[in-house]
């Protein structure tokens, strides 16, 4: 019986010793990492991520993925008034009104759409966040000035604003990016300012002040990191809007005039003349726009859930 007791005691000691040890690298679970873990378990997030990754992949490797040159008018001889060649051997989606391979044009089009979307969102986010930090960190009259400026931008309808800017800056893709970026600025600025103001009144900021931490360190070390999650979420959602807006501006004829770069919005625009002949010409680019926007939106929404403290644990 005593032997039995000894064994048990030994076993307990063993377990206790093991409980005391912590596997390497598990000391602290950062919020980003735990958010990522939650994201991985969410099927909606997976779907959004898959869509986004597929399109990014396609855009990155367009020259290798596209079956043909998007500009070569291979099937021009078959195009007649009232007839545009459909799917056939070597042309899975058929050709457009100028005899160019539709699939290749869609694949190359993803480059332009994603590029404009990403660049303009990043630009808008950076400028917007800078303004937001300025307003949120200083408060007082700085806050008032910045926010009235933002209100002015916000009071102009975003499409009207984008059209005016691209008209002002001339017709090129950079003008398009800047135009879309400007319409994104107010959202980021307001969002960051609002969440920074909310954090500034929190107990840990008071506690940090009570310990004599410098103001710059409180703003950038404490307030900003806690205010970023809504901005990150807004970033992914803004990507979707930026892509749609880029397509809309191209559709209105304000896009990149360089025909060497196919773009979904521009494709949609030219396809409207041939809707009765071959509606697929409009359907495919439209579908691409919708699916990419959906991908970013799904990812953004699940990111919001993953970063929301209410869903934590």
């Amino acid at each position: 019986m005593t032997a039995m007791g000894d064994v048990r005691r030994q076993r307990i000691d063993e377990l206790a010793a093991r409980a005391g040890q912590v596997p390497e690298g598990e000391g602290g679970v950062s919020l980003v990492r735990s958010a990522f873990r939650r994201l991985r378990r969410n099927p909606v997030a997976i779907l959004g991520a898959v869509i986004v990754v597929v399109f990014l992949f396609v855009a990155a490797f367009a020259p290798w993925l596209a079956p043909r040159d998007p500009l070569a008018q291979t099937l021009l001889s078959e195009v007649r008034p009232g007839f545009i060649p459909g799917a056939q051997e070597g042309f899975p989606l058929g050709a457009d009104q100028l005899g160019r391979d539709l699939l290749s044009r869609l694949i190359y089009g993803s480059r332009q759409s994603l590029l404009i979307g990403v660049v303009s969102t990043v630009l808008g986010a950076v400028v917007g966040m800078a303004l937001g930090v300025l307003a949120g960190a200083f408060g007082g009259w700085v806050d008032t000035v910045v926010m009235r400026f933002i209100d002015i931008i916000l009071s102009i309808p975003s499409l009207l604003m984008a059209i005016s800017i691209s008209v002002l800056l001339g017709q090129n893709q950079y003008a398009l990016m800047i135009a879309i970026a400007v319409t994104q600025v107010p959202v980021f600025a307001r969002l960051l300012r609002g969440s920074m103001l909310a954090q500034r009144g929190s107990d840990y900021v008071l506690a940090a002040r009570a310990l004599g931490v410098k103001r710059g360190r409180i703003v950038f070390g404490h307030v900003l990191p806690n205010s970023l999650s809504p901005v990150i979420v807004q970033g992914t959602l803004s990507l979707a809007t930026a892509i749609i807006e880029a397509a809309a501006l191209s559709f209105l004829g304000l896009g990149d005039p360089d025909i060497a770069r196919p773009e979904w919005g521009a494709m949609l625009s030219t396809a409207q003349d041939f809707l009765s002949v071959r509606p697929e010409l409009a359907v495919w680019p439209a579908l691409c726009i919708i699916v990419v926007a959906l991908g970013f939106t799904l990812l953004g929404e699940s990111l919001r859930e993953a970063l929301d403290p209410k869903f934590r644990r």
Binding site: G27, G28, V29, L31, D203, Y204, A210, L211, G221
Partner: protein
């Protein structure tokens, strides 16, 4: 005297009490609103190694007093009057830079809710080292070693691992220990603890109080304990100031206060502490009414509407003057015209003895 010109070390005098608060008043005045006087003529002082308690109900001005001492009240819409001296140096009206340098280094504060007082997105270690880097000019590595030592000193096991963890991974008691470690990182001369045990359960409360007591005794830190818990007062404080509606209404040594409460409010507080030996079915004896029933001090004793001893001359219009804070025997001060009397000292001692132990848990 320019505070800036003084060397950072030894800038504060040691021949005066660590903290002297004189006639402190805080008025909140927002535009278009009636100004509210949250603290009114509060005076007290704390010597090195001494623990002073500020006791009172919610809203009596104890937390505002502590924030005013630390200079943490917002500038706009708040008027602070009187004098607050830390080691002889006047803090009210001192420039922000001076205050920031003193906060954390010479005076520190521990707050009520340990979870919300820690930044949820930053590891504990970063938050502890921050103070060391800020005030003690330490390098990152040196600060990390020192931080581990600090956590060890406040009784957090496996400190090196804990430093990498986030606040939500620590238990409530450990969080409060971490906060105390941060507050004591630079061995401040003054520590203000604003209800440090309210958010913790009772067993942890006792540990935290014990820890605070040890630290105060070891380092000679002056401790201001803000609490509504008479058990905390009984266990920790040397002197007690009871506050009501922004004013100090009774001051006494701990033993005196528990043995012979003079202000009916203090008496009510002591009587309302639940007692384990009271037996079942015996109702608690609360103070009737609530803190909102106070009348302005200018019109009379703020506690009069809830007081059993109140008489006509508690009102200013009858007595012709407001109720003053007066000498009430050695080491005692009292703001009351009809204090509780304790007929025989022996009877008072026995009854109060049980009260004190009941309150002291």
């Amino acid at each position: 005297m320019s505070i800036e010109a003084l060397p950072p070390e030894g800038a504060l005098r040691t021949d005066v009490p660590v903290l002297e608060v004189e006639d402190l008043s805080v008025t909140f005045a927002r535009r278009g609103e009636q100004p509210t006087r949250a603290v009114d003529g509060v005076s007290f002082s704390v010597a090195a190694g001494e623990t002073v308690g500020l006791v009172g109900e919610s809203g009596c001005g104890k937390s505002v007093t502590s924030l005013a001492v630390m200079g943490l009240l917002p500038r706009r819409g708040v008027q602070v009057g009187g004098s607050v001296r830390l080691g002889g140096t006047e803090l009210l009206g001192a420039p922000d830079r001076t205050l920031r340098r003193l906060r954390g280094a010479e005076m520190a504060m521990v707050f009520q809710d340990p979870l919300s007082s820690l930044n949820p997105t930053v590891p504990i270690g970063t938050q502890v080292t921050e103070v060391l880097v800020e005030h003690r000019d330490m390098g990152k590595k040196e600060a990390a070693t020192e931080a581990a030592e600090l956590l060890d000193r406040v009784g957090i096991p496996d400190p090196t691992r804990r430093l990498k963890e986030y606040p939500h991974q620590l238990s409530g008691g450990m969080r409060q220990r971490a906060l105390i470690a941060m507050a004591l990182a630079c061995s401040p001369r003054l520590l203000i603890a604003d209800e440090p045990t309210t958010a913790l359960d009772v067993t942890i409360q006792a540990q935290i109080l014990e820890l605070l007591r040890e630290l105060v005794v070891d380092s000679g830190t002056a401790l201001v304990m803000i609490t509504h818990d008479l058990g905390v007062v009984a266990g920790l404080c040397d002197r007690v100031h009871v506050m009501y509606a922004g004013k100090v209404i009774e001051t006494a040594d701990r033993h005196d206060l528990f043995a012979r409460p003079r202000q009916p409010y203090t008496g009510g507080l002591l009587a309302s502490v639940p007692r384990l030996d009271a037996g079942r079915g015996i109702p608690l004896t609360p103070i009737r009414g609530s803190a909102r029933d106070a009348i302005p001090w200018a019109e009379g004793c703020a506690f009069a509407p809830r007081c059993d001893n109140a008489q006509d001359d508690c009102l200013t219009e009858v007595a012709g003057s407001t109720v003053p804070l007066e000498y009430d025997g050695p080491g005692r001060e009292l703001r009351c015209r009809h204090p509780l009397t304790h007929p025989s000292s022996t009877a008072g001692a026995t009854s109060s003895g049980s009260t004190a132990s009941g309150a002291g848990r």
